[in-house]
Amino acid sequence: MLRVGFMLALMLAPVTAIGQPLKVSETMIRTCAAQTPYAVAQPTCAGDAANICQALPGGSTTTGIVECLRAETDIWDAMLNEEYGKARTTFDRIGGEDLKIRLRDAQRAWIAFRDAECTMRYHQWIGGTIRTVVGANCHLQMTANRAIALRDLARNEP
């Protein structure tokens, strides 16, 4: 498994000037989430780790910028899934099946909204290479927003 993961990482790693994959600091992103207060919709530090990543060799090209944005999005996405899982566990205890189904429906509706929103933004810039940056940034900001919202929802436990 580790070996497969390693091979995949090698295959997926963007080729940079010195052959290093573009990385973001997971600690920095998790700290950003932890420091985002309750009920703040948009963590203002979302995107900071991607910005730092963009200063790495190869990080300032359009491909590099998008790679950095996606790397940070992956961490937020992992946190989103963690929070979603926690919410489901909580509702198992307090609300049962009905609440879990509603949570799932809400999450599916959010995914459709995210896709419609980010597709629209991408297409606003269809004539230029910036479109991929705009699309990737949209996914990053929306995923961070949703991860925090799910975290806060679970805190609303009656």
Partner: protein, 172 residues
């Protein structure tokens, strides 16, 4: 545009039958509006801190003071404020999308216009709003707290969407 306005207005009417007859509800949008005006100059990214300012003042000043009931009535008025703002911002973006569609006429990579993409996005948002707030209300099992949670959820998401449209008017 019209359609969305109707949908949200119907939602307001169904939700808040008591609003029309609410007496002495001292709601004044000034606190929220002045906060928004101030944030627009200094901190455009955090305008959401303004949401609920007027509702809180209103609940404090209500007959009988701050309660779930007074807060629900006051937050309903706040929802009206942001629903209106959302409609204004949506109309602006709709106009800009129409301009963009004229500019790129014939050069677009596919057949979907920006106007249609905007409508698709807004419909998806409405479905997301409804599913999210239905779930939040259910979390509190439909009691009086559930009603407050529901209107608070609608207000928060509506304000977020108004700000999102405002801040991103065909930009990054």
């Amino acid at each position: 545009m019209m359609r969305i306005w109707i949908i949200t207005s119907v939602a307001t009417m169904v939700l808040l039958p008591q609003l029309a007859v609410a007496q002495d509800m001292p709601y004044d949008p000034a606190a929220t509006q002045s906060c928004l005006a101030e944030m627009a100059d200094t901190d455009m990214e955090n305008t959401n801190v303004c949401v609920g300012r007027s509702a809180e003042q209103c609940a404090d000043a209500s007959v009988g003071g701050f309660s779930t009931r007074s807060m629900t009535a006051c937050m309903s008025a706040e929802y009206g404020l942001f629903d209106e703002m959302l409609n204004v911002e949506y109309a602006k973006v709709r106009g800009l999308a129409a301009d963009l569609d004229k500019q790129v006429n014939g050069t677009s990579f596919d057949d979907v216009s920006m106007g249609d993409r905007l409508v698709q996005m807004q419909r998806a948002w409405i479905a997301y709003r409804d599913a999210t707030c239905a779930y939040e209300r259910r979390q509190f099992d439909g009691g009086t707290i559930g009603e407050l949670v529901y209107i608070d959820c609608l207000t928060t998401l509506t304000a977020d969407q108004a700000f999102r449209l405002q801040n991103s008017v065909l930009g990054l």
